[in-house]
Symmetry: C2
Subunit: 285 residues, 2 copies
């Protein structure tokens, strides 16, 4: 695992635990939400909120609500994407998916509740309305990306680079960019700083999704803790399909360089962002 | 149909149409959302936002965003509740439910998108963070009510009056109270006024759900435009089950009186609210 993410992981789990305790839910709903939100994971998105806050020199406790909120949105998207009517996955991060662990109805409702917990957290924070608007828009783009993914699977979307980038910018990129933007907002970043960090996050998002595509094609289920090779045989629109394996590896290195270039206006305060970029380009799980 | 609701219906449809146009979505997603949000219906919740705004003497255009937002939350809840894993309904307001009209995956994702459109609308309005917090909390209570409903069906919840009222206050009441509260907030109501209107809305919510229970037991599918008699045979926790038919009719009249009492501090500016209360107690569909 990335050393940068590792350094934030415990803090992210602690803030997620606090956020879930803040508004206790009906017990079965609470248990389902906790199962999904506190599942083993990299905590990439809340770490990005904290990293962006730190890069700007903000007060780290101001990043707490947005960090919890973005991870709740991410967890909700996994729960609903895993459902039988969508990806029909039984395994997630090495454990049964939520609808296998409980039942489909509970998984649907828990997934519905998570974004509302996220919005409530943000709405009750300083700068709440701006943060809610950013997160709602990113979640919409994520859902639109998922719709494109389904269109590609039934071959209703051309398998070209333009569609791939647009699909991935929605499905994965939008929430990563929102995480960074919320972290920057929590640190009262300038418009210039937000613009640079958003550009970095956008390249990082592409990097992240493309390395995911590469690992799905080349790594084992065991190493990844989830079913791999699942894109194969389906008409999924992936980096492997558009670029081929060699081309994909090149594209990943380009993204790495573009992400690093976006950080040029920052000094040593962005060193963790640079390190994370390198680690993500080289990740093996 | 209620004459009070009828007077607001066209305006509600117009503001919903404008709200959906404001952020165009991926075409298939947009079509699914429009099918669900603009479905034939009473538009009770957006009308409540407008009625509360007018009762306080607010500017009606300030009620537009919250009116659209509450109806989007309502429409989302119907779409997800109708899914095979939940109520498994094929018919809604006389038309195929969204997952029958399109497919289950699209219905899940469209239902996910609607609350985000709602939150974005509110977040970009004056007093956005307070409004987002109210709507997110109400949506959580609605989801908790749905969880209680499922618990009752598998007989994991005692069929007593306390549980019935708590279930219905969540499943139906919370969003009606939120609609009225958002309307009052959009008109800059005082704390006293909000308190009185919330009390009215809470009794109205109980009245609405209990008349729904009564009609499910006594009216035909044809008259209602949806499958009726569906509570029978299941262990649903309903007003019929807890009070019996005669007791339920008495309880409905009590709710009517309690709702009217809550409006005592208002003069003629609340006459539409009083009329709506009477019409709801007497409704036959």
């Amino acid at each position: 695992m990335s050393t940068v993410l590792q350094a934030h992981r415990d803090a992210c789990d602690a803030l997620l635990t606090r956020a879930l305790e803040e508004r206790g839910c009906e017990p079965e709903l609470a248990a389902a939400i906790e199962y999904a939100v506190l599942a083993p994971g990299k905590r990439l998105r809340p770490a990005l909120v904290r990293l962006a806050n730190q890069c700007i020199g903000g007060e780290l406790e101001k990043a707490e609500a947005p960090a919890a909120a973005v991870e709740m949105i991410h967890a909700f998207s996994l729960v609903h994407d895993d459902l039988p009517a969508l990806d029909n996955d039984d395994l997630r991060r090495g454990r049964p998916t939520l609808h296998r662990h409980t039942d489909e109805a509970t998984a649907i409702l828990a997934g519905d509740a998570m974004p509302m917990l996220a919005m409530k957290l943000l709405a009750e924070s300083p700068n709440g309305s701006a943060m809610c608007a950013v997160l709602a828009e990113a979640t919409l783009r994520m859902i639109e990306g998922q719709m494109m993914d389904m269109a590609a699977e039934r071959e209703a979307l051309a398998a070209d680079e333009h569609n791939l980038r647009s699909l991935q910018a929605g499905k994965t990129g939008a929430l990563l960019v929102a995480a960074v933007q919320l972290g920057a907002l929590s640190a009262k970043a300038s418009a210039e700083q937000i613009k640079a960090l958003n550009a970095w996050a956008s390249h990082l998002g592409e990097l992240f999704q493309l390395t995911d595509d590469l690992l799905d094609a080349t790594a084992s289920s065991e190493a990844m803790g989830k079913r791999t090779g699942k894109d194969e045989g389906k008409s999924k629109l992936t980096g492997v399909r558009v670029y081929g394996l060699t081309g994909l590896r090149d594209r990943i290195q380009n993204c790495r360089q573009e992400a690093l270039n976006a950080l040029q206006s920052f000094g040593p305060e962005a060193s963790d962002l640079r390190l994370l970029t390198e680690e993500m380009a080289d990740r093996s799980r």
